[in-house]
């Protein structure tokens, strides 16, 4: 259980600079523009400690949200929003008919915990809806709201099939997880993935992650957690249809709705063509009717 070999190159107590390509030390992935990067969140390793929520807020300087006991098990964060880009969900399934489970499936049973985040969808509805081009796909294949462009129209908010992005009334702009776009530019692993104690949140090149996730599901099935499946990875039980795949995908052990995720989300922009064409057809029809009425009226008049 050793540290990365390159760690010995920076053994002084005051390195006094950012370790170049630190992501290699923290997750074994060298970050290069042009490649696709994302998160594989293996909820069976999540211990619900919320280090991701804190690391995200500390890095991005996000203010605290509502302060109140929600009563939803240990989830007092509520949901993702303008000031909360990571949200750990808790679902208790410990008791059934009075007695409590004691011997359990391996890796996270009876108390489901999952760190929810923006999915950075391949076909991102928020990006496709954004009229100002503020939301765009970066050179790392992640989806980012550019704060110097956004004019707070808020169209991305209803477009998102996961209810992630939200307008902040303090500064009138839309906000969501940027997959630490600034950190990626500096060769640093995103703050939440780096902080995650049990590596439930794994950052890496997207195809590598799909492969690793596939192996993990098989390994879990062998160990008896037969209900593990991938949500958001291509051709898996939890595939996300029109959105193609999610760059931040999940390994879940219960129905998606339990984690507040839709089982078959749709790509919002698929509905533009049918709606607009039907609308124009209706207008064309009415225009003909109007024309007919107009001209018939004229004969009568003469």
């Amino acid at each position: 259980m050793g540290v990365h070999p390159r760690a010995l190159d920076y053994a002084e107590s005051f390195p006094n600079h950012v370790i170049p390509d630190e992501s290699e030390l923290t997750c074994g992935t060298k970050i290069e523009p042009g490649k696709s990067y994302g998160f594989f969140t293996d909820t069976t390793l999540c211990i619900g400690c919320k280090a991701c929520e804190v690391a995200c807020k500390e890095w991005n300087g996000l203010p605290a949200d509502h302060l109140g006991l929600t009563g939803n098990s240990y989830d007092n964060t509520g949901d993702l929003g303008a000031n909360t880009w990571r949200h750990v969900a808790f679902v208790e399934k410990i008791g059934s008919g009075g007695d409590r489970a004691q011997e359990m499936k391996p890796f996270q049973s009876n108390w489901l915990m999952m760190s929810d985040v923006c999915k950075h969808c391949a076909n991102a509805p928020c990006l496709e809806a954004c009229p100002t081009g503020s939301i765009f796909r970066t050179e790392f294949d992640t989806v980012v709201v550019q704060q110097d462009i956004c004019n707070g129209c808020g169209y991305c908010v209803p477009a998102c099939p996961f209810g992630v992005v939200e307008l902040s009334l303090e500064d009138g702009k839309a906000h969501k997880c940027t997959l630490c776009y600034d950190r990626l530019k500096g060769g640093l692993e995103p703050a939440c993935a780096k902080a995650c104690p049990t590596d439930s949140i794994q950052f890496g090149e997207i195809n590598e992650l799909f492969e690793r996730a596939g192996k993990r599901v098989e390994d879990l099935h062998e160990k008896g957690a037969t209900d593990a499946y991938l949500y958001g990875a291509p051709d898996t039980p939890g595939a996300t249809g029109g959105l193609k795949h999610l760059n931040a995908f999940f390994l879940l052990t219960d129905r998606p709705e339990v984690y507040n995720l839709p089982v078959a989300p749709t790509r919002a922009s698929d509905r533009v063509r049918p709606s607009f064409l039907t609308g124009l057809a209706a207008m064309a029809g009415l225009t003909l009717a109007a024309a007919a009425l107009m001209s018939s009226g004229r004969e009568r008049g003469r």
Partner: protein, 198 residues
């Protein structure tokens, strides 16, 4: 997340033209990626690169002993995150450790000496030197008034039961050493305890 200050018309037009995507779309760039990229995104860098000092810190919270990298600029801490070189946490941190920056810069952080006179109902600010002198004086007075050199049966005890000290588990070994050396070895205090029993 501060509100971007109002900008002059020429400044607005300039930045609009600089970041205008339509001409770039016409030139063939995709509207989802390159054409939409703004100048802020092009020039974006992690703020850690502005740090002039990066030191190794040990998390002040629990006894696991995670190592942290602390970035500072002009003498002010700008970020704290996990140290990838440590065999204990390898860059990871728990929610408390990850909040070390928040702890150091929290609004309630005490930065001056507060004093409450007996029977008073509010705090008042006092200079550090005055407080240190007063504490030294009080310590000496209470120690001398309650000091026992010998017990009635002649056993030399050299102790005082009048002054106590509580705390040490969150402090450095060097601090614990000087506390025990001064309070026990010097003043003869026996009521010296810390969180080990809490």
């Amino acid at each position: 997340m501060k509100r971007i200050r109002s900008r002059s018309l020429s400044d607005r037009i300039g930045s609009f033209v600089r970041d205008w995507s339509v001409p770039r779309q016409i030139a063939g760039q995709s509207s989802a990626t390159k054409a939409a990229e703004s100048s802020l995104s092009r020039g974006l860098r992690p703020r850690l690169e502005e740090a002039d000092t990066v030191g190794t810190n040990i998390c002040p919270y629990c006894a696991v002993g995670c190592s942290q990298l602390m970035y500072a600029k002009n003498g002010r801490v700008i970020h704290v995150e996990g140290d990838p070189r440590s065999p204990i946490n390898q860059g990871t941190l728990c929610p408390k450790g990850a909040a070390t920056l928040g702890l150091m810069t929290m609004p309630d952080r005490l930065d001056k000496v507060l004093y409450r006179a007996p029977h008073s109902d509010q705090w008042e600010e006092k200079p550090m030197d005055w407080a240190m002198d007063r504490i030294a004086h009080l310590t000496k007075r209470t120690r001398d008034e309650t000091f026992v050199h010998k017990l009635p049966d002649g056993t030399i005890v050299n102790h005082t039961l009048g002054v106590g000290s509580l705390g040490g588990a969150t402090l450095d070994n060097e601090e614990n050493y000087l506390i025990k050396k001064l309070f026990s070895g010097g003043l003869g205090m026996v009521w010296i305890e810390n969180q080990a029993r809490v």
